[in-house]
Assembly symmetry: C2
Homo-oligomer: 240 residues x 2
């Protein structure tokens, strides 16, 4: 017989689907692709012109801004950066924390200024840009920093975005650090991935420097690793 | 042989794809579905809280509005409606016409008021709601009215949305009116669909009232119909 997809001959044992199902599947694929096109157009329509683009100079959207964000460090050396302009309506739509802050009589809604503590200027720029566009260029460090901000301001979509990126990067070397990070910031999917990687390489665990650090700083997390390991061993042991 | 999809037996002549291609196709479908989920999440993140929902009372987003829109009729009987609050940043992101209007020194940017002529209050509400959410409940009349506004303010995404809806509704009865409407408002896809329907029912054309009206009001459009009919006849005539 001839395959309708690859046009090669196939044997009885390699039989896949009948003609009818094959045609249905092709139609489904076409439909899904059309839906993707529609959704992409919707995303592009809904993206807002960002008041600050980390990769571009001044944006026209800044002219209508009604609030400004400042980075603010609890450390001693104080570098002053230009405030980042933004729109209350956008911040409130994206984050329930900003919404509560700006709807109330809190200092921020009165002064038109929001101070964001302990975050670098570049990270804050990228954060604000994401709230307008749902886009950010990530590397490992930026993904960590943005995830922390996303958790603080309850921007779920950004948190998932960063978490997925971190999951794609985690490996045997970085699993212990990722596990601890995921624990601190309630990143459930990353936690699972990192833990699975640690359990797959248990023989090397105690030799790692990060392991020793974790024992010092947060021994309860180390206990969690051993507990998971024990559970897995019990569950996979041959029955007698 | 047994089909891997429907589990029914099939004959050689009904052979579809081989096992390998079938498995690849299933993977593709899964991938496409995941992409759709991601895009839907992005759309839901990017939707803004609308300052006016035609189906809901007061919105919190109205509190931060910095511009208001008024309907304004060139007719004589004047009903005054509450202005519709909106945000310059959103209008400017969605429409190049609003952008030019609000960036310039035109009256609108000075007064914080935009007058929209010859449109009903409900249509204007639905229009503004769409600019924030990319969502609108359409019926035939609303689709026409919104398409006109979308063309006037160059909101391409909304124009396509209305046009697709109108294409799904056009039939032999309404084709002449849709053809004339599509012509007036540069709706290419609708024009093609309506014209094809007219050509399929040419024998009934001259009996229709809308046809007689069109001959009166815009005979050049009627000529276009006949020209298309002639071209089709020439192209499908059997060669001698």
């Amino acid at each position: 017989m001839w395959c309708h997809s690859c046009r090669e001959e196939y044997e009885d044992v390699d039989a896949g689907t009948c003609k009818e199902c094959y045609e249905e599947a092709s139609e489904t694929e076409e439909e899904l692709k059309r839906e993707i096109e529609d959704l992409k157009a919707k995303v592009s329509f809904l993206r807002l012109c960002s008041p600050i683009d980390p990769h571009l100079p001044a944006s026209p959207s800044a002219a209508t801004a009604d609030i400004s964000l400042h980075t603010w460090s609890s450390g001693s050396d104080c570098v002053v950066y230009a405030p980042i302009p933004a729109h209350k309506a956008v911040l409130m739509s994206r984050s329930p924390v900003f919404k509560a802050m700006l709807e109330s009589e809190m200092e921020e809604s009165q002064s038109g200024t929001i101070k964001i503590a302990d975050v670098s200027y570049t990270v804050l720029q990228t954060f604000i840009h994401y709230l307008y566009t749902a886009e950010a260029l990530l590397d490992e460090q930026m993904a960590c920093d943005l995830l922390v901000l996303a958790e603080r301001y309850q921007v779920k979509h950004l948190k998932v975005f960063c978490e997925k990126f971190m999951i794609s990067k985690v490996n045997g070397e970085t699993a212990v650090m990722s596990f601890a990070f995921a624990h601190r910031h309630n990143a459930g999917m990353l936690l699972e991935t990192a833990l699975a990687l640690i359990l797959d390489n248990m023989s090397m665990l105690t030799a790692r420097e990060e392991y020793r650090e974790l024992v010092e700083k947060d021994p309860r997390l180390v206990v969690e690793i051993y507990e998971a390991y024990l559970t897995r061993q019990v569950n996979t042991a041959p029955r007698e």
